[in-house]
Structure formats: C-alpha cells, structure tokens
Amino acid sequence: MVSEITPDLVRHLGVLARIQLSDEEVERLTGQLDVIVDNIAKVSEVATPEVAATSHPIPLENIFRPDVVGDQLTPAEVLQNAPDAADGRFRVTAILGEEQ
C-alpha cells in the first residue's frame, strides 16, 4: 500500500483526536508517520480474508456483573480533581461560541 500521509491528513487527525497541532508539529508528524506507516502497512500482506480477527488474546464470553449497587464515589471524590466546579458539578467554558 502506498502511504498517503499528508499534512492535511495529519491536521484532520489532530481535529479528530482533539489535539491542536502547531504547523511545525504537523510537519514533523507527517514525515515520521510516513516512515512508520510504510513499516506497519505490511500487516496486510498476511491478513488474508480467511484469517479471523482476534480482539481478545484469551477468548471468554458472558462475563457479567450482578445488578447490585457498589463502587459508588462520594460527590467529594467525584469532584476532588476537578479543574473547575460549581454547584456540585464540573464547570467547562462555553461549548459553542456565539451564534454566527
């Protein structure tokens, strides 16, 4: 597979990953990811359709928890690391800017 890492793609990935990359970071990452992706793309050489995917190294199923209350934190514990809080809740700056 031909690698297609471009600065625009890296910038877009930064948006998806919520990381505000500087132009310089975009530049550097583009070069590095290009090398890395060239190396790791070889997985598709052996990943033929008849090979099943493994998402868990040790297969198990039906692991459930009884419907019994537990592990609940106190409100003080919930908020103990909050960067900002008010009224027993976490406070964040506005989610949207002013209406355009």
């Binding site: 039906n62 459930f64 928890r65 419907d67 976490f90």
Partner: protein, 505 residues
Amino acid sequence: MAKDKLMDFDKALEVYEPVLGFEVHVELNTRTKMFSGAANPAHADNHGADPNTLVAPVDMGLPGSLPTVNAEAVKYSISLGLALGCSIAPSSRFARKNYFYPDLGKNYQISQYDEPIAFEGQVDVELADGTIVTVPIERAHMEEDAGKLTHVGGSTGRIQGAEYSLVDYNRAGVPLVEIVTKPIFGAEHRAPEIAKAYVQTIRDIVISLGISEARMERGNLRCDANVSLRPRGQEKLGTRTETKNVNSMRSVERAVRYEIQRQAAILAAGGTIIQETRHWHEDTGTTSPGRPKSDADDYRYFPEPNLLPVAPAPALIEELRAALPEPPAARRRRLKADWGFTDLEFQDVVNGGLLAEVEATVAAGAAPAAARKWWTGEITRVSNAQGREAPDLVTPADVAALQSLVDAGSLNDKLARQVLEGVIAGEGTPQQVVDARGLAVVSDDGALIAAIDEALASQPDVLAKIRDGKVQAAGAVIGAVMKAMKGQADAARVRELVLERAAAD
C-alpha cells in the same frame, strides 16, 4: 434565524412520498448502570438525586477504571428484542464509538456496532381507526447514556451563547437499548400518526415488560425521527434529516408533519435537503438545524477490548421468551373485553396513549369506567393545557386513590378535580392534598341541616312549591346550600335532606 417556509401538508403529499425511520432510546430501570455498580437514576428509587451522587469511577472515565456488564440489563435487552420480534444474536459484542463531548466521561460511548444483540424484527402498530401498520425493525442494541449538561448564562439554558456549562455524570452510564427501524414506506398522509402510534407502541411494550419507567418527560424514552421525501415515482431515497430527542408522543407527530412540510417547500423551490440533525422546539412547533454531518463524524468504531462477547444460551432466550407479556394487539383485545368499553371509549384510551395508565389504575382498584374517565377526561385536559404528557402528570396509583375517595363519598366530582390539580402540582397524594387543602365534603348532617333551614327561611315560597309536588323547586335551595358550604357538600345528600325537611314540617 429565518422562519422556515412550509408547504401545505396535503399538497406536499401529492408531490412527494415521505419515508420514515425512527431511533428510539429506552432507558432501562435496572438497579445499577450498564457498565458500573453506581445506582441507576432511571430506576424509580433514584429520581431526583443530587448531581454527581450516582457516579462510579468508570462513569466519569477515571484513569484506570474498567467497565463491567450488568447481567440484568442484558436480560432486559433480550426480552425487549424478543418483544420486538427480533432474532437474538448467538454472539454480540460491544464497541467503542469515539467522539469528544464534555458529557461523555471517557470521550467514547460503549455501544454495539456491527454485532447488535437483537436484529430483524417487526412491530404491529395500531392506528386510531384500528388499522394495523407493521413497522420493520432493523436492530436493537445495548449502550450507555451520557451525562447531563446545563448551560448557564447568555440566552438562558441555550447552548448558543452560554457563558459556561455544568456537567453532571449521574446519567452517564444509564443502560440504554436503542431500537432502530428500517425505512418505513407507504406511510403517506398518515406518516405523523404512524410516528406517534409507533412510539406509543414501544412505550406500551417496555411498560408491559417492566423494564423502563418509560416517562418521556424524564427522558426515559427518547425518539429521533428520520424523515425524507422523494418525488412520486422516484426509486432513490431522498436526503433525510434526523430530528433529535422529541420528548413527547404528540411532539413526534408534530415534528414529522413539520419536517414533511418544510422539506417539501425546499424541494419544490428547487433546493436540496442537507443531511443534518435537527432539534425540535416544543414552544414554537418548529425544528432548527443542529450540526451538519461532516467528516468529523468519524466515530472510529472498534471492538471494546475491555468487554467480552455476549453469547446468551438458547435456554435463557427461551426462558425469557416464555415470560414475555402478550403482544400489544392481543392485549388490547383482552382489555377491551375485560373492561366492557364501547369501540369509541376504547379508541379514546388507545389514541390518548393511555392504555397502560388505565390498566394500572384498574389494577390499583378503580372501576374501569372511572379510570377511563379520569385519564381521557380531566387528566388529558390538563395535559393539553400544560403541554405535558398525561402519564407524566400523575401516577395510576394516585388516580385510583382519588377515585376511592370519590367512591367513599368523601369527595364529589368538583372537589376531586381540585384534589387532582393539587396532586399534579406536586402537593402529594390525594389524601395529603385533601388534608392540606381541607377539601373533604361535609358529611355532618347537623351542619347541612342548619344551612338548609337558613336557605328555606330565606325562600319561604320554595317550601310550599315542594309540598305542592314541584320537587324541582328544591334546586334553588340545594344551590344555596352548596354555595354556603363552598361546594364541600355531597349534593345528593343535601337534596335528600331538603326533601326530608319539607316532608317533616
């Protein structure tokens, strides 16, 4: 924001064929959350909990925390899948849906993606005139709810222009089943009605299963309505909009009608529909655009590595199938016969979405006719006036208690309506409202006789008329007595006493 142009509904239907689709989220009322042991705010015991008091580490995405699957929620989901006529997957699994939002503690939602627990079903939906419409179900899958955001400052409560937002993670992790329909064709001019009836049917099903409180006002049941139009004769589906979180059955009906009219006007003017989510505004009866779909909606689903496949044993599925309540249509037939309602009376109940309420009220001890009268009468009237759902106003237990006070002669109709008003206003149970407002009828004959004597004395001709056999003349005295008693008297008893007094003297 500019006002939407709307096309007349019937005219829109002449030119375009509407295609519907629904995503209904049902909050399960298990004791604990989907993936943590925190108490579930959608369970009746936990309503009104203070913010951030029902939170376990995983609900707020604390470092190191891990999800574990609630066994009961899985059973509820299987039961719901079966009640929707779905096949239960021999193996299904959880996936992560990745997107950033402050109400999502982990910044991914654990949901099911390509392997849902239930798939390929159908639900019969009965319309007002008894027509049955079969709605095809694509899938029902398990997932978790997000927390709750409150926007502060700016134009109050609105996300636009708010100064800041507050986050409460109580609701984060509440077990959800999302029911997704296939495209619904052939709805035609009944599209809004079908939308409402479909949501009603889902609500009936989850109530009869006992797996959700199913209060739309509280968000226990939420409907996203997809609407698209295509010109008559065209094969290809039109672009759809998804109207989010329409939180009453009536709103579902109105929102679908609105979208049909709005989209028709755009298409007729040569415009194109943008694929987007839209928000329903109850106050104005309109929808407004949310975020347009973009390539930022790349959820990067992948199997949740912390959870294992759900592979219910066939024996468990059969056990749950055997325990299913009867299907809605059969249930309706049975209830209609049990209650002895006329077609019209029964349709009134069904169309009001009040079947479960009447049933529960009867179960709580009220006569069927009385239960029906309360729900389709006064409660519906108040719900229309207040723009709220009837079932959100008052519980069946309260209605039955109210009726038992009437049956015992402690309340007359007028007082009972006042008591109901008090219950709806949150003043407590009917008995508590009676006590607090001092609303019981005066059953002390002595007080009544005193008032009768006073009325008779001030209208001497009445006594003579009654004695002449003109019994209807008693009405004037009864009216005066009721007024003197401020309505808190049993009018029948007053009448009896008036006639007694007339005969005695």
